[in-house]
Symmetry: D2
Subunit: 164 residues, 4 copies
């Protein structure tokens, strides 16, 4: 079974966020992991898919619609769900670890569902509020400040025993 | 078509939150609205269902499991979905307006999905962080400080024209 | 908890099927049961909702879209799911017993999912093929020849002990 | 984007059906297609995954549960959905073409949903009844009698232009 890393984030974000998404996508591929995202041709989904694709990685897109219309280039495995935002729950269940970049309520819902499903979430530049404090305290939510630091944390989460 | 008011909140909350949930449930029924919640026999779901039921209201429970095991007493219309937390997306689509009381990541995911789906959300004692600020500014997220104020805001949202 | 009877059938069917759907909807309401259907303003969904509504019954519509656009008149409790045909699984989980009238593959999928979920299905004029034979043999699939006979079978399934 | 072929069929089937599933899985991998199935460690799911895996193919499993417990060996990309049988709708939306072997109501629901979603379905030893006749007539449902013939039909459906 391959290791899937979910990368979540907004469809409309600033350029530095797109750059982070692209580089995280690249590094996910370079580590031999599979990138999973929401599959749309916009924002963090598009940039992370492009990064992983250009590094010859495998990309899974869990699409909200029931077709591949509007899908990001570079998606290898397209999973149209026809379920709209209810597919956010699948995004997190199918990911071993989740990275969250800046986004709107869709991204917040994915972080929240990921925590509820017991997944660790690495946050890069996406501060959340009071309800998330307990998850920071127990180490399930982890802040990173660069794409490189994000991937270093992913390494420690994917291979915890080797590091212990 | 009847007006459904979704009441969201945690399965494990403090007593004053349960009291708010109970009274909001009662007042929803007294206004002739239908209460919709997540249907489980715990916390805000249980208390709001009891309030609406005792005031002879109709209660719809959108359940995460595929049976009615663990359902709150007072649910009239049980909708087992078998979808786990993916049913949170249905909770908000089926609600005309949403009330959110204190809760954990499940409740946060419902607030986030509600905002993304264009629903107004009245918050009673549940402060959220930075990503939600734009929704406060545009009036889609509204803070209330008592159960009575919560319902007064619901009135203005359900019958906007009569109030204009 | 109220008893929900699911009535499934095609969006495009002949007039006698619509007449059956209308009369079954009426009788469901007259028995004090809740009618549940797919909620669209077409065929068996429309006719059964009209029947139940005209007999002052309560009607629940589990809609495939994420809005109430295209909903049948007479639906009291609208549950937009935004899940397309994946909502067929919810239709059957939320129904205590299912009636299936003539339909296409959507209706067949509902009968199949209902059987898998352990629900009894009363068939009125909708012959199915070889894979369904075991379910006829064990009495989980039951053929009826009129609307009245359909409802008589529903009575025996909803109140099995009183009849024993 | 890779070509996903969905292989559906029962969890409890006879040995010749398992042999068909295994060989179809192998040939799907040998054609460079991705095998998609329901992912459980039983019946047609297990056998087809084994076949594709042994031929170095890529296998996607769309699981009904919210974990990978009970997953078939050989699944590379595990997508736990937590949605139970509602995931059958995703199985067909994510498949370019579907193969159906002998099965129970779950398999019937997948064939029905596939037809409704416009997908072609190749049937190997799985006779269906009257409601499916129109789909045979228009060529959307196609009977095959061997694993080899099944894959030959898949070729014609995946590469229609090259064959025209």
């Amino acid at each position: 079974m391959l290791t899937l890393i979910g990368v979540m984030g907004g469809a409309v974000v600033e350029d530095d966020v797109l750059d982070h998404a692209y580089r995280i996508g690249r590094m996910i591929a370079e580590h031999g992991w599979v990138l999973l995202n929401g599959g749309r041709n916009a924002g963090v989904m598009q940039a992370s898919a492009r990064g992983a694709h250009e590094a010859d990685g495998l990309v899974v897109g869990i699409l909200p619609g029931d077709t591949t219309v509007g899908m990001a280039p570079g998606i290898d495995i397209a999973i149209p769900t026809g379920m709209g935002d209810a597919r956010n729950a699948i995004n997190v269940l199918a990911s071993h670890v989740i990275v969250a970049l800046q986004g709107g309520p869709g991204t917040v819902s994915e972080v929240a569902l990921a925590l509820k499903a017991g997944r660790s979430v690495v946050m890069l530049g996406f501060p959340l509020g009071v309800p998330f404090s307990p998850y920071y305290e127990r180490g399930q939510l982890i802040d990173a400040s660069t794409a490189e630091e994000t991937v270093a944390i992913l390494e420690s989460l994917v291979h915890p025993r080797e590091r212990a």
